[in-house]
């Protein structure tokens, strides 16, 4: 019996495709962001507000992942920006191959910004690099401030945390300071925004974050 060293990433094939995507996004000057959260944290709503508030000249598009339906794509298509649905047929996350396939035939030169809305799931999507420039994790105040500690992988890998539904704060036992502390315990450099899509509070900071990162 002999022990043979292998030393390769389990997801090396996904990582290979993600590297191709990343190179392609950079070459075409597209900022790709990967939105991750539990189901119901407000990914689609945040995108709706973002698209609704953007001038028609904004060169952006959305890929939206769903296990079963195209509800989200229908919701997002109303705003006139290109939207494509990825239906995973049971898979609980998007992988790089699905993104590559969904982008087939799309002219990346016509885009500056691509939102990839992952399947609602705070665990599995963290393992799959999609070639994005940044992962963005959403956490709604209705979910609880301990979530960063319970699902550290996603918070560790996200550049930005968007705390959503802040208009509900008076009604839920969510400690904003503790939530941020927990997120920073997992990922000290994580950037944090607070947003309410209902009142519009924080939407300006969100738009500015996107603008700033698109330009860089």
């Amino acid at each position: 019996m002999s022990r043979v060293s292998v030393e390769q990433k389990v997801l090396s094939e996904n990582d290979r495709i993600a590297a191709e995507l990343r190179e392609s996004f950079q070459r075409h000057g597209v900022l790709a962001v990967n939105l991750i959260s539990s189901p119901g944290s407000g990914k689609t709503t945040l995108l709706e507000k973002t698209l609704a508030g953007a001038p028609a000249s904004r060169r952006m598009a959305v890929l939206t992942g769903d296990i079963q339906t195209d509800n989200d794509a229908q919701r997002l298509a109303r705003f006139g920006f290109p939207v494509r649905q990825i239906t995973t047929g049971g898979a609980c996350h998007l992988d790089a191959r699905m993104v590559q396939k969904a982008l087939d035939g799309w002219d990346l030169d016509a885009l500056d910004l691509l939102f990839v809305e992952n399947v609602g799931n705070l665990v599995c999507p963290a393992s799959y690099d999609l070639g994005e420039a940044a992962k963005i994790v959403l956490l709604s105040v209705a979910e609880g401030d301990e979530k960063p500690l319970k699902y550290p992988a996603t918070f560790f890998k996200a550049r930005l945390l968007v705390l959503t539904k802040t208009d509900l704060l008076p009604h839920v036992p969510f400690d904003m300071a503790r939530a941020k502390e927990n997120a920073r315990a997992v990922h000290p450099e994580i950037e944090i925004l607070e947003v309410s899509c209902t009142t519009g509070a924080g939407m300006e900071q969100w738009s500015r974050w996107i603008e700033l990162n698109t330009a860089s």
Binding site: S5, V10, Y151
Partner: protein, 82 residues
């Protein structure tokens, strides 16, 4: 839930390595799974067992070494040479 996909990738890596060693039998595969990898060890073990059962790789043992980062690696194989 994605541990089934992860286990599938692990077995593909094992088969690729085995193909380089005709006649040899892979007895055990060693994985490195980080605390921040987002992978549940229990689900991964379960998926692995289900996928190996009744195949040419059966019985293939799995050893998981935990680490502190986001590692998710096939680290080594134990091989019975032909």
């Amino acid at each position: 839930m994605h541990e089934l996909s992860i286990a599938t990738e692990v077995l593909e890596a094992v088969r690729r390595e085995a193909a380089k060693r005709p006649g040899a039998r892979v007895q055990k595969v060693g994985l490195r799974v980080g605390e921040l990898s987002g992978v549940s060890e229990d689900s991964l073990r379960f998926s692995f067992e289900v996928l190996v059962q009744g195949t040419d790789l059966d019985p293939l043992a799995l050893e998981i070494e935990r680490s502190t980062g986001d590692e998710l690696d096939v680290a080594w194989l134990e091989v019975e040479d032909a």
